[in-house]
Amino acid sequence: MLLRSAVVAAALLTVVGLAPARADDAARLLRQAITAPRTTSFVGEVQTLEIGESQTQASVYRIEHRAPDLTRRWYLAPQSLYGDSVLTHGEHRYSIDVHRNRVIVDENDAIDDQVAMDDNFGLLTTNYRAESAPDETVAGQRCRAVMLVNKHTGQTVMRIWIDAKTHLVLQKERYAANGALTSQTRFSNLRYTSAIPSQVFAVPTGFTRIQGSRRAQPSSDVNAAVKTAGFKARSPRYLPEGFIPVTGDVTDVNGVRTLHLLYSDGIRTISLFENAKDVAVDLSRYTARSVRFENHDAQYVEQGPITLLSWGEAGLHFALVGELSRTELIKIAASVVS
C-alpha cells in the first residue's frame, strides 16, 4: 500500500514537473511555426476541406513558396478553378483568372503587421493551452502534433502538425464546439528547396488588370476606428468567453463608408461590418436562408464553416461573419441590436 502510494506520488510529481515544461515547449513550437514560412522555401501540394453545417468546400492546389514572402498557388481543383492561380508578393495579391482573362490586384497591409501578430499570439496563449500529442508523419516528414485547448470550455479547437525540423505547419484541423471537424489543410508531395525560378512568381501579361480592395493596416485602437466611421456605430454586448475587440478599420466600399470590427480569442474570429446608408448585403450568388431574432428579419449564408449573417436596424446595416456556430452568431447579433 505504501509502495503504491509512493509510485502514485512519484508519477504525480513527474507529471506536475513535466507538464509546464511540455506546455512551454509546445508554446515555443507554436511561435516557431508561425514564423517558419519567412525562412523556409518549399514546393508541394495542399488539400483543403472546409466543412459547414450544410455545405462543404474542397480544393487542391500546388504551392510554391520562396521565403520570405513570395507564394504561388495553382488550383488543380475544384474543376471551375482549374488553371487559376493566386500570387502573393508580400502585401500584394494577384488573383489570376484564366477563364475570364483577368488579374485582380488586392493590397493588404495587415499581412506584415508584426505588432498585431505578437498581440494576437499573446491572446492565443491567454485563452488556449497548448498540449503536445504523439508525433506523426505528414508528407514524409516527422511532425510534432500540438492541440490547442480552450481554457474556458476545455474543448480542443485546433490541432496542428508541425515539421520537427523546419517548423512548417504541414497539417491543420479545426473543430466545432461539439468536436466535429470543420476544416482540414494537409500537405503532400512536399519538397524543401529555395531553387524556385523568379518567373514562377511573375505576374503574367496579356490579362486585364482589375483593381480589387486596398486594405490598410487595421488599427488596434478600435475606438479610433469607430470615431472615423462618422456614424454612431454599435457593438455587441455579448461575446463568447475569451473574445475581445482586436482591430478596427474603415473602408469606402463602392462609396459606402463601412466600419469593420474584428473580435478574436486568438484563434477564432468574428467580423462585424456596419454602414449607415442602410446598404444591404447582396446574397444573390449564395443560397441565402432567413432567420428571425429580436423582431429582426435576417438572412444568412454559409461558406464551409464560415457563416455570414446580415440584417438592418434603424438606418444601419450589419453583416456578421465568423466561423462560430449559427446559434452563437445569432446570440451575438441579438446583443448588437438589443
Partner: protein
Amino acid sequence: MNQHISQDRLTDYLHHALAPEDDAAVYAHLQACPECAVAMRAETALTEALQRQAAAEERDLPSGVTATIWARVDELSAAPGFADRLRAWLRPAILVPAAAILVLGLFFAPQVFRHAPVSIDAAYYLDDHAAVNGTIPFGDASETIPASLTSTSDPVNASAVAVDPVTMTADAAP
C-alpha cells in the same frame, strides 16, 4: 350678302371684332339695307348708353395715390438699365468667388450626388474577413479561395480610410 345681318354679327362689327373681309361685307350691306342700318343705329345707341353709364359710375382715385404711382414710375425710369446691372454683377469681387464656387461644384457634384449602391456583394465581406485573419495565428487567409476567382462580377471597389494613430502597443496587448 342678301340676308340681313344677325344681332351677334352687328355687335362684333361695332366692336371691330370681325375679320377684314367680313367687316367689308357688313359695311357694304349696311349701305344698301335700310333695315340693317336701323338695327345698326339701335345697337350703336345701346352701346353708347352703356358706356355713358359706366363712365358715370367710375370713381376717380385719390390724388395722393395717383401722385405716388407716377412718382414710382419716374423712379423706375431713372433706375440703372440692364447693362448697368450686368456690369455691377461682373465686377471681380463677385465674379471670381462665383466662378470658383461653380468650378468646385462641377468637380464635386458627381461624387456628392452619385447614387449609393443598393447592396454590396457578400463576397466582399467574406474576403475582408479572411484578409484580416492574416495576423491571427494559424488563420492563414491563403487557405480561403478568393471570392474574386469564384465571382463573375467585377470586384467591389474598396479603399481604406485613414484611422487616427494607434494608441495601443504590443506592451498593452490584451
